[in-house]
């Protein structure tokens, strides 16, 4: 079965979503994964966009979390204030799982979406946090990145969104009452985080890649002792993604 990296990543992430999860969706591939979860794996999940749209009927894939397509037949069309307050709310935050992208990640799942180089004189400027820092602060989250050495770095150029900070209890000590990174999805595999030391480890890898190859594409050391081949997915899942989720390949390309 042939599939692209994006297709693979979308499906792997979508499978992390459970029925009754409330999914906080970012832009791009995150939108695809959330939509795929809802349309195929977990139809009872609720998709939630930071712009304030909750649980809409998605007839066409939205290009942004502010696309008018997220406003049709939603449970509520609110705004950013209401949406982020729900993330922070003590009765809802634990029910929410976010899907985020990043330019850089470190071994504790901290994310950079702001810049490369010095913040006040950057070589490359990225968009900035958007809602990423907030989702990472309050909820469990899944991250998407290409498996590249410049992305899996020892030290972030800028820490935009808090993962487990410096590991262990440091996230809790900083004042975060819940949440944290749960999974990292790349084109080559799936990483999770150790319950104790809160460091990233390789959980699953694509059948057609070498673990050594994954390690070479990371600046920091990663535990691979628990790694196993990733579960395959069905032709039906792939067809749903291609024919129903994004038939015009607006985000898949």
């Amino acid at each position: 079965m042939e599939y692209t990296d994006r297709e693979f990543m979308t499906i792997v992430a979508a499978r992390q979503i459970k029925d009754h999860d409330i999914v906080f969706s970012g832009t791009g591939i995150s939108l695809l994964a959330a939509t795929m979860a809802k349309m195929y794996y977990s139809p009872e999940c609720t998709i939630f966009y930071e712009t304030g749209a909750i649980d809409p009927e998605i007839l066409e894939i939205p290009m942004s979390v502010a696309d008018s397509r997220v406003m049709y037949k939603s449970s509520i069309n609110a705004g950013l204030f209401e949406s982020f307050c729900l993330l922070q709310n003590r009765f809802t935050r634990d029910r929410i799982i976010s899907i985020l992208g990043a330019a850089q990640i470190d071994k504790y799942g901290n994310l950079n979406t702001t810049c490369i180089g010095d913040y006040n004189n950057p070589q490359v400027r990225f968009p900035g946090s958007g809602g990423s820092c907030d989702a990472a602060s309050f909820t469990r989250y899944i991250v998407f990145l290409a498996q590249e050495k410049r992305r899996f770095v020892r030290k972030l150029d800028y820490l935009t969104s808090p993962g487990y900070l410096s590991g262990g209890e440091s996230r809790k000590k900083a004042g975060y009452e819940s949440g944290g990174p749960e999974a990292v999805v790349t084109n080559m595999g799936l990483f999770k985080f150790d319950d104790e030391i809160k460091e990233m480890y390789l959980d699953q890898f694509r059948a057609d890649v070498e673990i050594e190859d994954i390690r070479r594409r990371m600046e920091f050391e990663v535990d691979t002792s628990r790694a196993r081949e990733i579960d395959s997915f069905s032709e039906e899942a792939l067809e749903t993604l291609r024919n129903e989720v994004d038939p015009k390949r607006l985000i898949l390309e």
Partner: protein, 320 residues
């Protein structure tokens, strides 16, 4: 009842001054007050300090045109139509724009605090990140800029749980000199109705000294006083209302029209090149007298393609 209708050029020249702090409504591809943005560029206003959550087309054009000196922002991208806003990226990389970063929740809370009349609001996101620790504006710059507080933000212990040492961030509130939003509906008195998502528009209006509202439909009667629980704010907060159909183009306006994918894609390419960008601004902004002339350039057939299907709120099946 005071009639607040005026022309867009009058509203901008009356309420937007050089050196003002400004905030524009909308979010990435939706409800950017574009007609007002073009008018600001056309009037050669300069030295603005901008407050932005998720800025996109309006933000990028203002930055690219050199209207904005400094900005406090959370995000500068336009979904698939600009992974990072191009003129924004270049301006920061070249040192032409000074920025300070917050998160979207932070910026939202700062507008909320301003609208509530409190000096700060607490938030539990961003502790120990570079958003907390790294400032874009140093102390000297802060002193000279009247729009900035002494500190970017600060942190205190929760006084209601002293034993636990729980820390929260306090964010300084924002009160822009002027906020501009594009709404679906308004009336002559300044009653405003937003349809679909509100983004941060209501907070941006309520926190501002002056409020300009462009809209698709401008009611001449009291239609908007029925079911007024759906109105966005009391009319006495609004200073100017202007009917500008398609005034958010090339971004979308729920229930009225979709975003113009083709135009946004074209712009993404143009923005990469300084000269092409300047030509774009000349063609679509400086060399047209007003927004109607701009729409003529967009053309009837595109306009018709974008029209929203009633009930759905967007243009179903159109080639994006």
């Amino acid at each position: 009842m005071k009639n607040k209708e005026m022309s867009l050029s009058e509203a901008i020249s009356k309420f937007v001054k050089n050196g003002d702090s400004i905030s524009l409504g909308g979010f990435t591809i939706n409800r950017n007050p574009m007609a007002a943005t073009y008018e600001i560029i056309r009037q050669e206003i300069e030295g603005l300090h901008m407050y932005m959550h998720s800025g996109a087309q309006h933000f990028d054009l203002l930055v690219g045109s050199g209207v904005v000196d400094s900005a406090e922002i959370a995000y500068g991208a336009n979904a698939r139509y600009a992974p990072t806003c191009v003129r924004f990226r270049k301006a920061v990389e070249n040192g032409d724009l000074k920025v300070e970063d917050y998160s979207n929740f932070h910026m939202t809370m700062r507008f909320k605090g301003g609208s509530m009349g409190v000096p700060f609001l607490p938030v539990k996101s961003g502790m120990e990140t570079d958003i907390e620790k790294t400032w874009g504006f140093d102390k000297d710059f802060r002193k000279k800029n009247k729009h900035l507080t002494e500190k970017k933000l600060t942190k205190i212990e929760n006084p209601f749980r002293c034993d636990e040492g729980e820390e929260v961030i306090l964010l300084p509130s924002i009160n822009p000199d002027v906020s501009i939003i594009h709404a679906q509906k308004a009336d002559l008195e300044g009653n405003v109705r937003l349809e679909g998502l509100q983004f941060v528009d209501v907070e941006q209006m309520k926190s501002a000294d002056k409020v300009i509202v462009t809209c698709e439909s401008l009611y001449q009667n009291d239609e908007l006083r029925l079911e007024s629980e759906h109105n966005a704010l009391p009319s006495f907060l609004v200073d100017a209302v202007i009917r500008v159909p398609f005034g958010a183009h090339p971004t979308a306006c729920f229930n009225f029209y979709d975003y113009d994918s083709e135009h946004l894609k074209k712009y993404l390419k143009i923005a990469q090149d300084e000269e092409k960008f300047e030509k774009y601004i000349e063609e679509y902004v400086l060399n047209v007298d007003d927004f109607n002339e701009y729409l003529e350039k967009i053309g009837t057939s595109r306009i018709i393609d974008l029209l929203a299907d009633p009930g759905l709120g967007y243009s179903q099946g159109y080639e994006r």
